[in-house]
Symmetry: C2
Subunit: 347 residues, 2 copies
């Protein structure tokens, strides 16, 4: 590590203007950035490949299919010929048949309770059990992105769905209960807390600077890589060591406005980031999540909402300080992490 | 479990008016409330009792002492006669010698960077290695509470310290790196994100209802236990299964206004809650944190700020959905958890 000298850098408190939170960057709490490795952190042990319901050939053991790629007439949708499937979650956190009637089902003010209506789907990213997302081609990842997009557009047609959260858990300590590569899509009747905070914070930044906080996020110091339409950085006020954001170059509020060409371009950069994390940090458990805009975004919010994907490798444990304060202690300076990741040799 | 019949209750989305967040209560995601057990989750293996710097007799292996109970003249403060010690953290996240000069050191707007100034202390709660907090007497816990109070009052005198976060990590998966019973105190030059959100949310609730949200939190349905000056509940919109709040009966903004009698009363209820969690959930890892008010609280905020202690047993893993949305999926209805906990037999 070029930037690690004998004495570590002094700690800093940085403000994240996207999520409106502070982070403490404190290298004294940890090893040198280049020494970070995840402890061997395997995938969930069950189900094994011989009984995994997400494997091709076991479609009947899954909750109902929503669609598959390549598209097939419904008659043949029970076949085992597919690259990707979007299915209902067998143990959904929210129920899709509980849509509230009435004109404004979203207001929990007053009593503080809403019925648990919503959609909870699973994207099976590959028919093969042992294939990780980083093993897939850019086109394969592009297809996953297109599946997200298509499902979001379907959910957009449901009146009560206000926001869609796409996320992936990889590895036990990132929450994964299934080893077979998959991600999840939740259609929510509320705008989640983090999303409201983000929109308010981006608005405040725009009001103060006249600029979109994400358009401004590009900086040589924290840049990892770039593609035709996207760039990847370790954000200036990253809450987690080796946290990565993949950001569209051109200002764009809605993830679901991505087109086929951009989806493949995005897939290529995502694959590269996952490979770099895997190589540098010893196949760490990770989460990724897409941060987009609520469906009913007033037009005057468009200039300061900008979607992006956040990847968080799980390298430590969250303690009481973070849970209490919402302020994370990150032991690795973002520019140090970006330098390490930009230099990972994938050949 | 009386309330668990053959079919689980339907999911609900609940609004937490204290932290301004939604939670999804979704029993279908899990076992019956009474079946919850933490997987055997021991304390950190190192250091062992023969090399633990927090044990009495090894004071010299610790960072400098700030004070101890019982109070002693400085000349004898290197002795091994003590019940409790407050010491500096050997690997502090923030530096106590970096106080910024200038009149308003707290504003990170603009550049988005503040020097990493602050205090990071450790409370060694007992001289004995194997004693857990729940093994200690109400008076012993009262002494821990008084140590928090005394240290907070010291930090209040430092101009740049705006908020003090007290927290405890117990067990590896709650973040503890030291097995010997301890907690931590951080004096911060910022008001952390969760605190700002909480104050705004309590203000909004007060504006709408004319009441303090915590004074209103008492409810028979979610009550666990009560003492002379405090009550303990599973909050109506708990984010975590078996989450507990201990709340002062009388409206009180600042934890550091607690007196000796109340400290022992509080210690007794805290001990009981930790024992109940330990017995019911198999000595789970947990965090607790004190949520109080910033030092420079304008007088008109007093009616709606109300301190409390939050205990979160770590029974599951946080996944991408929670990290992305700030919305937690809690598989146990708060009233079911409260009923289980109220009925735990400690004799
Ligand atoms: N000889 C000595 N003298 C003085 N102090 C000593 C010491 N030896 C060790 N210490 C300090 O004692 C503290 C023990 O704290 P904990 O075990 O509660 O968790 P830790 O702070 O390591 O991290 C957990 O809590 C923090 C804050 O929530 C999270 O950031 C982190 O991820 C999580 O693992 C450490 O902070 C350590 O620096
Ligand atoms: N045969 C089948 N057909 C259809 N679906 C099936 C199925 N068998 C299993 N499933 C579903 O597949 C999903 C797999 O998801 P993950 O492994 O990413 O994590 P999970 O949702 O279990 O929980 C993690 O993510 C959530 C959300 O972040 C956290 O609440 C939680 O604590 C964390 O462990 C599960 O939701 C499961 O219900």
């Amino acid at each position: 590590m070029s930037s690690s000298s004998s004495s570590p850098r002094l700690p800093e408190i940085r403000k994240d203007y996207v999520f409106n939170r502070y982070v403490i960057i404190s290298p004294a709490r940890s090893r040198r950035p280049s020494d970070f490795k995840s402890s061997p952190n395997p995938n969930p042990k069950s189900p094994n490949p011989n009984s995994c319901p997400f494997c091709s050939g076991r479609e009947s053991e899954c909750a109902p299919e929503i669609f598959r790629f390549p598209k097939e007439p419904p008659s043949s949708s029970s076949s085992s010929e597919w690259n990707l499937r979007v299915i209902e979650n067998l143990y959904p956190a929210l129920k899709r048949d509980a849509e509230p009637s009435g004109s404004d089902p979203g207001v929990a003010d007053g009593g503080g309770v809403l019925p648990g209506f919503g959609f909870h789907d699973v994207v099976i990213e590959t028919p093969e059990h042992g294939v990780r997302m980083s093993d897939m081609s850019a086109e394969g990842l592009g297809q996953v992105v297109e599946a997200y997009r298509e499902r979001i557009l379907q959910l957009k047609r449901v009146r009560s769905v206000k926001y869609v959260q796409v996320f992936k858990n990889h590895g036990v300590s990132a929450g994964a209960s299934m080893a077979h590569s998959h991600s999840q899509i939740m259609g929510l009747p509320i705008i989640p807390p983090t999303v409201s905070i983000r929109l308010d914070s981006m608005k405040e930044f725009y009001g103060r600077t006249g600029k979109c906080g994400l358009c401004e996020a590009w900086s040589k110091d924290i840049l990892i890589d770039e593609s035709a339409h996207f760039f990847s950085i370790v954000p200036f006020a990253a809450s987690f060591p080796f946290e990565i954001w993949i950001v569209p170059r051109d200002h764009s509020s809605f993830f679901h406005d991505i087109n086929k060409e951009k989806a493949v371009d995005f897939g290529g950069l995502l694959k590269m980031m996952l490979l770099k994390l895997s190589k540098q940090l010893n196949d760490p458990p990770f989460n990724f999540m897409i941060h987009t805009a609520p469906f009913e975004l007033p037009n005057d919010h468009l200039p300061y909402t900008h979607w992006f994907l956040q990847i968080i490798p799980q390298l430590g444990v969250v303690g009481g300080f973070e849970m209490a304060s919402g302020c994370y202690i990150n032991p690795v300076f973002p520019d140090d992490a970006a330098k390490v990741l930009s230099e990972v040799n994938l050949s």
